[in-house]
Symmetry: C2
């Protein structure tokens, strides 16, 4: 059995004119046969779920159903759990990632998403939905490019993968500093900084491909020689030596197990 | 193959007069046949490692060797990795848990400890060493019993288990608030608040037994109905409804999968 895709999106993805990321998600889920479940929990707006239902149906999905898990008790509703069991893809909307983790964390919905992603279910999330996908989630933090020991708050996320820590609206909100801080704490996962309207399609082999109009900043701490995060005082800048950084655009790939980045195949030139 | 014990200790464990926790650790590791490796990385003091070598030899271990992983490069030393491969038990000293995660995280030492714990290696840690054992580690935070959204900083830990978040020097440093905050972010793991000179011996089935002179506070968020951590502003108090709490002393057990606590068997009365 092959694990489904994990697809963090940087927020503000194009929905009308040329919705390349959402169309690709529908295609991966089976195109005309695709059954898509939407989890609008992160959003406080009642129209968020129905809006995505409409978008996915316009993109040709067979069906699209929004499941309004608003309270922890909702996460035990058998009819909605059945929709998740039958789905080819699940889409988590934007909003506040702590609403996702506090509402869904530790419930049958979270267990089911982890289990079914292992079995082939594709799981996408935009903005807050993207932040929530990994084991270690950036809950909130401060802007700025210089890391400080107290500029980022991590929390347990959904836990589909331990390979990555994701940050979104990346260059739009100047978030390199908080992503570097998160990785300085423990240089185990790689950092994925997602610009708006940009997605990482992460496959079962740990290879991600970039799609969308912006860029993805890959922050690889595996060769870090030193960081001062253990000795820095609160609000002081933190030193980190030896971070590798890649900026990838549409069509580029990155293979996490081997840490190899590849530019888009330049077929047009040949 | 049966996973080895995971043994977080709340710090300041008795070392001379009646070292019940350390003696039990040596016994579990094979008593007179026990080969124990010590990782003193969290400590800044050169004498910490040799001190524990002496203690474990006095308690009858066959050998005890401190491995001074001070820099990330040290974590590639083949001779020290071989000591970890041959060990029956590994003991992580106290100090600063961010020194552990920044020095060992993402290196062959961390990979080896996770793999060998799965295969039967027993891993104990005291204070900072205890905080580091779980997937989600409390890196630092503020004192006080009332949770606030920004009072605790989590970071990726060693990752031996996702079942628990550990806090140490628990009642001595008034840390209920920060542990509650950590669990409010995502009510998936259980919280283990360890008093000084108190340990949790967590076995392969997810049952922990308390040993030592203080108490363990188990914080079980699995029935939490509501928390305000997603809407609270920084430094504001956070509301959480439905936390279950147990205070357990020497001999009591707690089974994490079923969330059942048992008092020590009261044989003296029968």
């Amino acid at each position: 059995m092959r694990r489904g895709y994990i697809i963090p999106i940087g927020g503000a993805e194009e929905k009308i004119r040329d919705p390349a990321i959402l169309r690709r998600f529908v295609d991966i889920c089976g195109g005309e046969a695709a059954r898509i479940a939407i989890i609008p929990t992160a959003s406080q707006l009642a129209e968020t779920g129905p809006r995505y239902e409409e978008i996915f149906l316009q993109l040709g999905a067979k069906n699209a159903q929004s499941l309004a898990f608003n309270e922890r008790q909702d996460c035990h509703r058998e009819d909605w759990l059945q929709v998740l069991r039958d789905a080819d893809g699940v889409f988590l909307t934007g909003g506040n990632q702590l609403r996702l983790s506090t509402t869904i964390g530790g419930t049958p919905v979270a267990d089911l998403l982890r289990q079914r992603n292992q079995e082939g279910l594709h799981v996408a999330g935009t903005s807050a939905g993207a932040a929530f996908l990994s084991e270690h989630m950036i809950a909130f933090g401060d802007e700025g490019a210089t890391p400080r020991v107290d500029m980022v708050f991590l929390a347990p996320g959904l836990g589909l993968t331990k390979l990555t820590v994701v940050d979104q609206h990346f260059r739009q909100r100047d978030r390199l500093g908080r992503l570097l801080t998160a990785l300085a704490y423990n240089p185990r996962p790689i950092g994925i900084g997602l610009d708006e309207d940009t997605a990482a399609f992460l496959d079962a082999d740990g290879r991600l491909e970039v799609a969308g109009s912006g860029a993805i900043t890959i922050v690889d701490p595996s060769e870090v020689e030193y960081s001062s995060v253990d000795s820095a005082r609160r609000s002081e800048p933190v030193s980190i030596l030896g971070v590798r950084l890649h900026v990838l655009i549409d069509g580029a790939t990155y293979h996490i197990p081997t840490r190899v980045a590849q530019a888009p195949r330049e077929l047009a030139r040949s």
